[in-house]
């Protein structure tokens, strides 16, 4: 194990975990409100394509990021209407949202396939980024990566330390009781799903503006689903989601680094690691089920 290998794995895991973590943070908020969104993939794609288009047209990646978040947030309102207002099945609605995002983003983004942009560039932290090893591993990233941990802390603080967070979690446990306590469950769930979309949009924007710096149809390639798995893995805790996302990104980066060094292990077997790891962790810590918001249990049991 050389230093450059370790450095490659570490920077790689941070870069490839960003989009997944943003989506997962959004999904934590949505699921804490008692709604599961299987359509994160679609919301991310809508964010990725709109962010790319705006950046390409305006030349401003910052504007692209804002638009990406808003578009994905608004897109998520379709889900909110279906599952909150119309009480539709959440799993089927989520998958329908995924297909909608897949198709709509392909349709919107067709003229932009293969176009070049001035994406989100790394902002090296002065002085600190010059430190050997630590500099490139910690202090040479783009804006969205720096915001990862602060935003995770913010989400944690909002969910667990504010009145709104308390209300949201109460709705996620039992909307009827929350209603009886004077809350407006439907409004809160709408807010949660919209904010979840904002985060998924940021994740998508990081993918198209920073990670790949290009747009291609279906470019999220399953990251939205990984985010859903990650939320369970992190037992609905935004801070644990950071660790989980790094683990996911780490497996991917490790695999890429091994391949780059010509290791004789099938990349496909290595690609399985994150999924098997999640299954293993879910099995190993199955008592964590207790952390699942009560309102979600009904969805998973098929009774809702």
């Amino acid at each position: 194990m050389t230093t450059s290998f370790i450095q490659g794995v570490l920077t790689g895991s941070i870069q490839s975990s960003t989009s997944v973590l943003y989506a997962a943070l959004g999904e934590v908020i949505v699921e804490r409100a008692g709604v599961i969104n299987l359509g994160v993939e679609g919301s991310m794609l809508m964010g990725a394509v709109s962010g790319f288009m705006v950046t390409q047209q305006s030349g401003s990646a910052g504007l692209g990021i804002i638009v990406a978040a808003l578009v994905a947030g608004l897109f998520n309102l379709i889900l909110a209407y279906l599952v909150v207002t119309r009480k539709a099945n959440q799993l089927a609605s989520g998958l329908a949202l995924m297909f909608c995002g897949l198709g709509l983003s392909a349709l919107i983004g067709k003229p932009y396939v293969g176009q070049m942009i001035n994406g989100l560039d790394p902002l090296p932290v002065p002085v600190l980024s010059q430190i050997p090893f630590i500099g490139p591993v910690l202090f040479n990233y783009d804006f969205l990566i720096y915001m990862m941990v602060p935003l995770a802390v913010l989400v944690w603080w909002v969910l667990f330390k504010t009145r709104w967070g308390l209300s949201l979690r109460a709705v996620g446990e039992d909307p009827t009781v929350a209603f009886a306590a004077g809350l407006r469950p439907k409004l809160i769930q709408y807010q949660a799903i919209f904010i979840g979309g904002l985060f998924a949009g940021l994740g998508g924007a990081h993918l198209s503006l920073a990670y790949a710096q290009t747009w291609s149809e279906g470019m999220t390639s399953g990251r939205g689903f990984i985010a859903v798995a990650l939320v369970i893995f992190a037992s609905w805790n935004p801070l644990k989601a950071v660790g989980g996302a790094l683990l996911f990104g780490g497996a991917l980066a490790f695999q890429l680094q091994l391949q780059a060094r010509g290791a004789d292990i099938s990349p496909f077997l290595l690609d399985m690691i994150p999924y098997l790891l999640t299954l293993g962790v879910l099995l190993f810590m199955r008592n964590r089920k207790n952390a699942m918001p009560e309102g979600l249990k009904a969805v998973f049991e098929g009774t809702s």
Binding site: R86, A92, A96, F99, L102, I108, G222, S266, E301
Partner: protein, 359 residues
């Protein structure tokens, strides 16, 4: 015994359901037409293209049937577990593993096994492959360890990667230079086609499956017990119903059906095992089952509709230079309308502004 009165009642209900569905379809086509207009496409041309290329010719119809086969099988893989309250999102993975096991079997025994056993061999292997893959989440669920919704979803990715591994590794045809794929299957291990079309033996399998499901669900004790378990698992357990056994057997059969879909795609259509051969049949099957409210006959009708739309995507790609997946928008509009359970009564409700009392 069912009286003629109830039969007439059922017929009337199905007629109403059909009418309602037609209304949904027209609404969805209108909404998608607006989407097309926004993107500067002519919706009338697009619809003419979609329908003439599919149901406008006998060739088009045959291609629709080819597409209906995997969709029906994948939808039944969702329908059956749904009857006992299980959510199988893993059809995609079960489809891949069914194809993998059938392919592996065909290539391994082709030299030693007499040809007439070829067809039963691949069918059984395809079924067992998908079934065992679904049995993993079923056992985890039956033990009360892990919810099947999550595990079936995660196992999809593992299954697709497993097929990649075999196609790029042990099963790779050495003579396939740039296209990773298995060696071609011997003729005896391929599903027979109907005449000169691409319609294959899977159509018979799918028809038998639907007939059998219809019979079992509506006319046997198993169907009754499944309904009881789906309705109230705790009460059923107290009445001594073997719920764990039901979970494992039902999921095994369901996975097997998805496996047959994968087997059909590789052993009939492709003729070799190729990576990533399924255009999300498993997920689309999930949605079809939901669209049909887990009814076997409804699944057949919805599969036809979705097959026409999906094939329309191929056509639009050529005639309107629209990306293939743009028809996903049309499909999702239909889903949204169905999931939202719109009815004509809603329009009156809207004007009356009747607010729901709870939450």
């Amino acid at each position: 015994m069912i009286s003629t009165a109830t039969l007439a009642q059922a017929g009337k209900q199905q007629g109403a359901a059909l009418l309602r569905f037609l209304a949904i379809l027209i609404l969805a086509l209108l909404v998608f037409a607006i989407v097309l207009l926004v993107f500067g496409k002519n919706p009338i041309e697009a619809y003419v293209d979609i329908f003439t290329s599919t149901i406008g010719s006998s060739y088009g119809w045959s291609e629709v049937l080819v597409k209906v086969i995997p969709l029906v099988l994948c939808a039944t893989a969702v329908l059956l577990p749904a009857r006992i309250g299980l959510v199988n999102v893993g059809g995609e993975g079960q489809l891949y593993i069914g194809a993998l096991v059938a392919s592996w079997g065909a290539l391994a025994v082709a030299d030693v096994m007499p040809g007439f056993l070829g067809l039963p061999t691949i069918i059984i292997l395809g079924f067992i492959g998908g079934g065992l893959w679904a049995a993993i989440p079923a056992v985890l669920r039956a033990m009360g360890w892990l919810n099947e919704t999550i595990s079936t979803l995660l196992l999809n990715y593992v299954a697709i990667l497993l097929v990649d591994y075999f196609v790029f590794g042990p099963l790779r045809d050495p003579s396939s230079a740039n296209f990773p794929q298995s060696e071609p299957f011997p003729d005896a291990f391929r599903l027979p086609f109907l005449g000169s079309t691409r319609i294959h033996f899977g159509l018979i399998i799918a028809t038998v499956v639907i007939a059998a499901l219809y019979f079992v669900l509506n006319r046997t004790r198993w169907g009754y017990e499944m309904r009881a378990i789906g309705g109230n698992p705790n009460a059923s357990r107290r009445h001594g119903m073997p719920i764990s056994r039901y979970i494992i057997i039902i999921m095994f059969i369901a996975g097997g059906l998805a496996g047959l879909a994968g087997m059909g795609e590789t052993m009939a259509i492709q003729g070799r095992l190729r990576p990533g051969f399924s255009p999300d049949y498993g997920y689309v099957g999930f949605l079809i089952s939901w669209l049909a409210m887990h009814d076997p006959i409804g699944v057949v009708l919805m599969s036809f509709l979705i097959a026409i739309i999906a094939l329309g995507g191929d056509t639009l790609q050529i005639t309107q230079s629209m990306p293939f997946s743009s028809v996903n928008v049309l499909m999702s509009i239909i889903l949204f309308i169905v999931l939202a359970k719109f009815s004509f009564g809603d329009i009156f409700k809207f004007f009356k502004k009747k607010e729901e009392a709870t939450s």
